[in-house]
Every structure is written in C-alpha cells, then in structure tokens.
Subunit: 381 residues, 2 copies
C-alpha cells in the first residue's frame, strides 16, 4: 500500500474541499448563477492581488497571461528589458521576441537575484526601454527577486514593470498598488491550490494607458475586451467554470488564514526546509535569496539529481522535481507552497533523507528532519 505525495513547486496539492467544489454539476456560464460566482472571484482576486484594479481571469496556463501582459501593452519594435535568471526569465524573453519586440536580455547567474542598481543603470543607458520583465520568484532556481526595489527603478517613469508572480503571489507579500507594479500575472496551480488551467492578470492605470496604443497582435488574449466582460461578471470566451468555482473555495480558505497568516506559514515552511538542507551538509542553489515557495538544493557529489527524483517517486511515492537545462541532474527542488502544512514538509524531508541515504550520500538519517522540527516548533503553530 503506497500513498502518493505531491511536493513539487507546482502543480501543488488540491484541498479536498476544493475538489468537492469542483465536483459539483457543471453550470452554464451565461447565467445569473455563474455571474454570482464571477462576482465573488473578482472581489477575492482584488484582495489577494492587493489592488483596486480589475483582475482578469483567462482560461490558459500562466504562460498565456505572460503573453497577454506584453501583447496588450506594447507594439512591435518596442524595446523591453527581460531579466533572465532562469528558465522562466528565458521564456518571457522568447514570448517577447515572438511578438516582434526588441529585447535587451539582462542575464543574471542562475541562483542569484537581480541587483536593482544594475537595472537602474541599464534604464539610464537605454531611455527607449518601454518595459522591464521579471519573475518575482524564478521557479527554476528557487530565487526570490527584490520586486519592491525593482519597481522603484520604473515608478517615476513611463516604463512598465511587469512581474511574473506565478510562484510568488499568495506566498509572499506583493502589494500591487502599494508598490506600483504595472502588470502582475499568476496561475491557478501554485498558491491558489487549484489544478492548472486558469491564469490571472491585473494592469495598473499606467499599463491600461499603454494598452490604448499597444499594437501587438492579440485576439484570445485581448484584455480590454476581457475587462469589459469581467465588469459584467462575464468573460470574453468560455471560462474555465469549474476552476473559478474552485477558486472561490480556495480564496475562502485563504481569507480565513489571512494574508499575514499565509506569508508567515510559507516563511516557516521554507525556513524548516532550509534548516534540513543545512543539517544534511548540502548547499542551497540560491543561498543569498532563497524563496519561500520552493527550495533548490545542489546534489551532493556522486548523486545524480534525475536519479534522486525518480528514486524518491518510485520508492517513497513523493514527487519533487529536478533541475532544468544547465541545472539538469545537478539540483533537486522541494516545493512547500499552497496546501502545504508543517507535516507535509516533514514527510517531504523524511523521504528526501531516506532517498539520499539510499543513494549513498553521507548523511545521518533523522538529522535534517530533527532540524526542521526545531524550526517548526519554535516558529510554528
């Protein structure tokens, strides 16, 4: 008898209450019933985005919202800066190039956070830049970028700061209005504790202003039309009905926990995971700016990351993930976001310890878990 555990940095486990909500008979979207569901979701999303603006829901993966961000605010030939500190930074840059934008790629060593001073300098040297793109958390390396400081580099100008908050919103504090983030995108399968398939995006007044003259091609991802539809509690195309119903249940759970409670819990889970890594004598990939969403760990010498992930899944039923591209085989990534509590982290760390032991890593069984328990007990509950 084996149970299965999902401890990846997305998709994340879906709570039973949310599953039950989504298991209800499907309703039609052009009805008053659905409009009530939409009204509730709109209000809840403004709360979690910490914005007065409309948060638009799209039936797409997060990458769709990343495309929408660019296509609705820029025109072919416009210059933008893409901060590339990992796989998802690269992706946003590629989407921009595909849309005909002129992209200045600003590369940051994988595992390091961007230095806002560098961006400030870059913007001074390139007054033609219309937008800066950055991940709040770069999922491929587990790094958290200094979003608050980054926004300060664009706030006083016409430059738009666009934040991919897919693996960060609902995990760490990202007050959109307060910090003046211009475009913020996220997806359903991380902190929202939902299956993938629903993305969300919000634009600041400055970004909506840019929208008026933006000429990039867009049809499915036309946010102006979505805005009009949303204001009537509708969507421009067939919405992901069940996911929006589930979203309302997730938001209900999140509101009950409070924003502060959510941020504190994720900080605690991350600290416990980091303490275990330290107790194992292993190194974080991003020691200077580790995120609260996931923890990327360098494999001990002699241990292949791909093998570690496969072994852990096959033998212990626990799913984590390895590295991508140049980090393939060299790291493993532990997720601790969304519907994740203290004992889920203990389970994940127990399985990791046993796997490391199986692969002949020099660790003492129980050492990491004990270190995590210390953190959870002190900081927790």
């Amino acid at each position: 008898m084996k149970k299965y555990y999902l401890a990846a940095p997305g998709p994340t486990p879906v709570p039973e209450m949310v599953l039950l909500e989504m298991a209800k008979p499907i309703i039609h979207h052009r009805t008053k019933t659905f409009e009530k569901v939409m009204a509730q979701a709109r209000e809840g999303l403004k709360w979690i985005f910490q914005t007065k603006e409309e948060v638009l829901m799209l039936a797409s993966a997060g990458s769709g919202a990343m495309e929408a961000a660019l296509a609705n605010t820029l025109s072919p030939g416009d210059t933008i800066v893409a901060i590339r500190s990992g796989k998802f930074g690269e992706r946003w840059s590629e989407i921009a190039k595909g849309l005909g934008l002129r992209v200045i790629d600003f590369d940051v060593e994988w595992g390091k956070a961007v230095n806002p001073k560098d961006i400030r300098g870059l913007l001074e040297r390139h007054p033609e830049v219309k937008a800066v793109l950055c991940q709040a958390c770069e999922t491929s390396t587990g790094v958290i970028h200094p979003v608050e400081e980054l926004v300060k580099t664009t706030r006083a100008s016409d430059v738009l700061m666009m934040v991919d908050a897919i693996t960060a919103l609902g995990i760490v504090d990202l007050p959109m209005d307060k910090w003046s983030i211009d475009v913020m995108v996220t997806g359903s399968q991380k902190a929202f504790m939902l299956p993938p398939g629903l993305s969300m995006i919000a634009l600041s007044p400055k970004a909506w202003e840019a929208n008026a003259s933006a000429k990039c091609t867009r049809y499915y991802f036309d946010l102006k039309k979505e805005l009009e539809a949303h204001k009537k509690n509708q969507t421009n195309f067939t919405p992901a009905i069940s996911l929006i119903q589930g979203l309302n249940k997730s938001l209900e759970m999140m509101k009950e926990e409070t924003l502060e409670g959510i941020f504190t819990r994720h900080a605690r889970l991350a600290a416990a995971t980091q303490a275990a890594v330290k107790a194992w004598g292993l190194e974080l990939l991003a020691p200077e700016a580790p995120s609260n969403s996931l923890t990327a760990v360098r494999c001990p010498s002699g241990v292949d990351g791909e093998k570690l992930v496969q072994h852990m899944q096959d033998k212990y039923g626990v799913t984590i993930i390895g590295g991508q591209d140049k980090l393939k085989g060299k790291i493993f990534r532990l997720g601790h976001m969304g519907y994740c509590g203290d004992f889920d982290v203990i389970t994940m760390l127990s399985a990791t310890e046993m796997t490391l032991k199986d692969l002949d890593a020099k660790i003492e069984l129980g050492r990491g878990v004990a270190a995590a328990l210390q953190v959870l007990h002190q900081g927790g509950f």
Copy 2:
C-alpha cells in the same frame, strides 16, 4: 490553514478511492446489481478471515457482532469464561451477563497478555464451561493476546473459542480455519479502512453445531437466517449498502498488498512507533506483548494524558486518544493501522514530540522521529 489527521486506533482514515466508491449513487439492495456486490464481498471476506465458512455482514457496530456471537451459540444459564484484560474484555462479559449467561470473569492485569496455561487450568477446574471469550488485541491497553496458543486449550473439546478480532483482523495473521477459531468477529472501521457501521462474523462448523441448540434471545442478530440470506447474496435486513460497496474497494486494495504485505507493514509501523517511544525515554503500557495495531504509552510524570490528547488535536490537528477508566489521564494511544503508511507514522510521532515538548516533558525534539526513520528505512519500503 490546518490539516486534520486521524491517528486513533479506530475509526481510521478512509482512502480517497473508497470514499469515491461510497459516493456513487445508492443502489437498491433487492437487485441483481447488489447481489454482484455481495458475491464479491463474501469472497473477499473469506480471504481475509482465512476461512471456508461464510462470513456474515451485519449493519451494526462491532459490539453487535460480539452480541451475535454469544446469542447464536449459547443458552441462558450456560457457563462461559470471559478474559478481561481491558475495556473490551469487560464489555463482552457484560453482554454475556445481559443474555443470562453465567460468566466466569478471568481478569488479567491491564497491559498484560493472558497466559494460556491459566485458561487451560481454569477449563480443567470448570468442565461446565461452554465458551471462552477473548480479544485478539485489547484496544484499551494495546496488548496482543496469544490467540494461537489460546485456541489449543479448546480445540480438542466442545468448548468454543470466540475471538474479538476487531482491532486485529487484517493487521496480524489470524487464520481462522488453520487455528480452529470457532467464532471470529470484526468491524469496518479498523483495518478495513471504512467508516463504522458494518460488522462481520464467521462461525466454525463446531459453532454452527452449537447454533442448532442455542436458546439465547436473538432476532436482528439471527445468524442462521443471515447465513441463508448471504448464500443467496442477500441479507436478512436492509444492509449497509454503501459500506459493502466501499468494502469491496478496500478488499481490492488489501489483495493488491497481499496478506503478507499487510502484516509486514503493520509490524514495521508498530516497530517504528515503539522505537520512538524508547528514544523519548517513555514506557509502553504493554512492553511484553505490544500489538501491531496501536501503541499505548505511559505518560511521563507531570503530564496529563487527557491534556496531551486535547493539546495535540487543538494545536497540531492530529487526533490520537487517551486512556479509558482506570487508565484515564495515565496513558495515550497511538494508532497505526489501516490506511496508514510510513509518513503517517512520522506525522503522528512529530506531533506527539512537539506536544510532549509543549507540556514540558524532558525530551529532545527530533530524537523519536529519527529513531522511527531508522526503523522504517531499514525494515521498510
């Protein structure tokens, strides 16, 4: 955000697959569809009881099957021996007295197992005894009784050996036919991973012979009528339809694990729990014969068992239970049976450790969990 964990010695957690099975639309019991369900359940129960006899399903708690055992094989005034080593031994004795039987109570110190030699001596001194009643596992103390040796004291005679296997069947090996157990009863809410409400009982040929002349009052629990109904894939009264559907799913899971796999897993989980208790420097209530179903632990001095249980539930969301009657406040009981895997035990032990620490017990956080991990890693997976 708090998750809830059930780590009590029954009811035990119900697997998602079983919940989904029971969530199917209700079927009518006087149909061919239900008869197929019954046929499958009958076959599966014979496998887990390790018997050729019919295993009868009753819509009742386990205590109902304990009453049925007596009422269907004995007559008022008959003498029986009730081995009382805890709360459930006392209960069976009370049921017997209520039916007008003459009961010789054989008391065993709570936490100790019965010595079969004592029963042999008792039967020699009391040739009028018609039946001996014993728990396989006494849930109130966590002790396992030597059923195989006990049955040897009655096998060659007309005396019936009746075994309450509610917290033991599907956890440890109890081959009914091979050992010549005459009456074996169990319930749905332990190893069968189901909600409470369904009990099962099987009678040996010797017990069915006794049934012919048994005069105790019985109507709802008339096993002869149930036997006739079961042979037609039916029941004498309205059956617990959903529970029987769920039972088939549970049996499917159990068959996939195999009897040996089930017994090995429970032995491993018990050994890991016992190792943690030892590492905490605490004492088992039943050190000489601890069961594989649950572990009863003596509270450290200064710690109240009731408070411990309440604190653990309130603060950590983990439900265990305390002691009953004379053991109230003095012990706590950790369940590790049914839909319980290695990481469930780790969660339960982590919560227990943190609770003990909160209540100022002198333990080092992580010590017990590390000891359990050692056992699980060596003996496990």
